[in-house]
């Protein structure tokens, strides 16, 4: 008898989570309001479609919310109503108020809530954090984190009230990483520029203890490859990573990439397998996972300040919680 995860949503990120759940030995019940659950299941050769949320919650031991951002809050509350441990794709919610409420309610009920900030499980960022913690570069001084890609062509991402734009889709990752590497954030300043379907946000963070960070997140209508990079400088050295450098495989030639091709899934290297496995381990052990609900909430608190600063043009001081 396998345990079952109730996977809500069958879009982009569900394609990363489904094979990881299958590899973890879970039965997967998929519910989607879009007509895409069967296609997802067919593509990965596992899982079964269910036809209502009630059916999903009845079957599930764990819930995994992979839906558009603005729906996270209500779905997570519904999962909490069934006292089910819940994975919520980042950002935790669309608004800070929702995030605060959600985290407080799960904590009060003693039900685990896991914000899926998967970048903490990407090996180059794991290595970055490990090197900083080991003292390789002394005390952290300046971080630069960049994340850029082609503007999504899928409607809801570009709808600011639904998605929160490039800030909540891309920058939220680097907000979490900058805080993970550089500690709590005391002050936030940001600027955003939107030109039709393109947008950049640049956020300037002052961490408790004085280190500083600049985060740049960009969607552009130009046909560019997705790319992430960082440089972390300390009192005695610096660390640098760039997804565009040192690629183990490159190809230039006539062959066209096949449409809808699945990236190879390996249980040993998939950061999605690592994050979901970490959550399951934390439920079993009662120890905190690498990313806690509070981490997801603090990322939202900083993101909210980024959005407000970009509108007001003023730096925003954050009150530090616990």
């Amino acid at each position: 008898m396998h345990a079952t995860v109730g996977l809500i949503g069958a879009g982009g990120i569900a394609n990363a989570h489904l094979p990881a759940w299958l590899d973890l030995g879970y039965d997967v019940a998929v519910y989607s309001t879009a007509d895409d659950a069967d296609a997802l299941i067919g593509r990965h050769g596992g899982g079964r479609a269910v036809h209502s949320l009630d059916e999903l919650f009845d079957a599930a031991d764990v819930v995994d919310i992979c839906t558009p951002t603005h729906t996270h809050y209500e779905l997570a509350l519904a999962a909490l109503g069934h006292a089910l441990p819940t994975v919520c794709e980042k950002p935790l919610t669309r608004t800070l108020d929702e995030a605060e409420d959600l985290v407080a309610r799960f904590a009060a009920a003693g039900v685990p809530l896991f914000p899926a900030h998967v970048v903490r499980y990407f090996p180059e960022y794991v290595e970055l954090r490990r090197a900083v913690a080991r003292g390789d570069i002394g005390r952290v001084a300046v971080q630069r984190h960049t994340r850029q890609g082609r503007s999504p062509r899928n409607g809801w991402y570009l709808d600011e009230p639904l998605s929160g734009g490039v800030l909540l889709d891309l920058m939220i990752h680097d907000i979490d990483i900058a805080r993970w590497v550089g500690g709590e954030v005391a002050r936030v300043f940001a600027r955003t520029n939107v030109v039709d379907g393109s947008q950049s946000t640049q956020a300037f963070l002052t961490h408790l203890g004085g280190s500083i960070s600049v985060l740049t997140a960009t969607w552009t209508t130009a046909p560019i490859d997705f790319r992430t990079s960082f440089e972390v400088a300390g009192s005695d050295g610096l660390l640098h990573g760039d997804s565009d450098e040192r690629r183990p495989f490159r190809y230039q030639g006539k062959a066209e990439p096949e449409a809808d091709i699945l990236p190879d899934f390996s249980p040993l290297t998939s950061p999605y397998r690592a994050e979901l496995g970490d959550f399951l381990d934390s439920i079993a052990s009662g120890l905190a996972p690498r990313v806690t609900a509070r981490d997801g909430l603090e990322a939202m608190r900083i993101a909210d300040a980024v959005a407000r600063s970009a509108v007001s043009g003023l730096p925003i001081d954050l009150e530090l919680t616990s």
């Binding site: 300046v142 130009a222 009192s235 003023l314």
Partner: protein, 335 residues
Amino acid sequence: MKIAVVSFAHLHATEYVAALRRFGGIEIAACDAGYAGRPVAEEGGPELAAKLGIGYFETEEELWAWRPDGVVICAENVRHHELGLRAAAEGVHALCEKPLATSTAHAAEMREAARAAGTVLMTAFPVRFAPSYADLRAAVRRGDLGQIVSIAATNCGGVPTSRDWFVDPARSGGGALTDHVVHVADLLADLLEDDPVEVYAIANTIPNPGVDVETAGLVSLRYRDGVIASIDCSWSRPPGRPNSGDLVTLTVIGTEGVAEIAPFADVLTGWNHQGALAHGWGAPLDDLLIRAFLDAVRAGESRQPDAMAGHRTTALVEAAYRSLADQASSPLEIR
């Protein structure tokens, strides 16, 4: 033609002398009056002049009396103002090491003095001559990038150790913000043909600690058409680092394309038993700058990067320091 180098305080002087010598047919002399006051380990004075193979004057008065056609000002930052005004008063053309001045008021006075005297005043921004920058500029002008959305710029190095005045604010005017914002600010001004209207800055003294000035800085700019830009100007590289070719970088995000330049990326790399080998082999930017200055001296009219390039970048740095003091975004208006 006679060109004088005023002071070896900034060791770019040696690069400029080497470039001047390569052009040939130029009488070159220098005065390094501050030499005696410097730490023993800092080379300069008549010995350095002899090593460079150029003439030497014991006093700056003798240098001005030599009646040079042009001077290259390589004194400590806070002396640029006095020397720029003197060059104009003497009717001598000048190329001034960056930053042009340590205050906007001083930069404006220098610019006005040169204008009134009819002399050339140029600012030493050699990166303006980088072929990669020319390519970027052309791509932007052609429309390859569409409409520009944002720019991320970096100019990160180590703490200058060749001269101790860099970390003495009374002589340098400041640390990493003073030293490293202006090069990329000059590129941005030329690329966008505009100045930012708002400047925000944050800084600390964490990298390479132990000096009295900021060693890390981040600057945020907003332009009137909505374009945003960031500058990392930190002295964040540890001593002994190999040349990784990333001294200056610019990433320009547009609606139709994204362009990146790294004008110092031309580095031959390798290893031996002592560790990494890294030798830059890029275009001779100092030679290109000196050629533009000599051309300006001959023509009697300025070439780029001119006094205005120095003025507007000085004003931007001043706004960054104002933002640090106020802990708020600072408006910038350049006249």
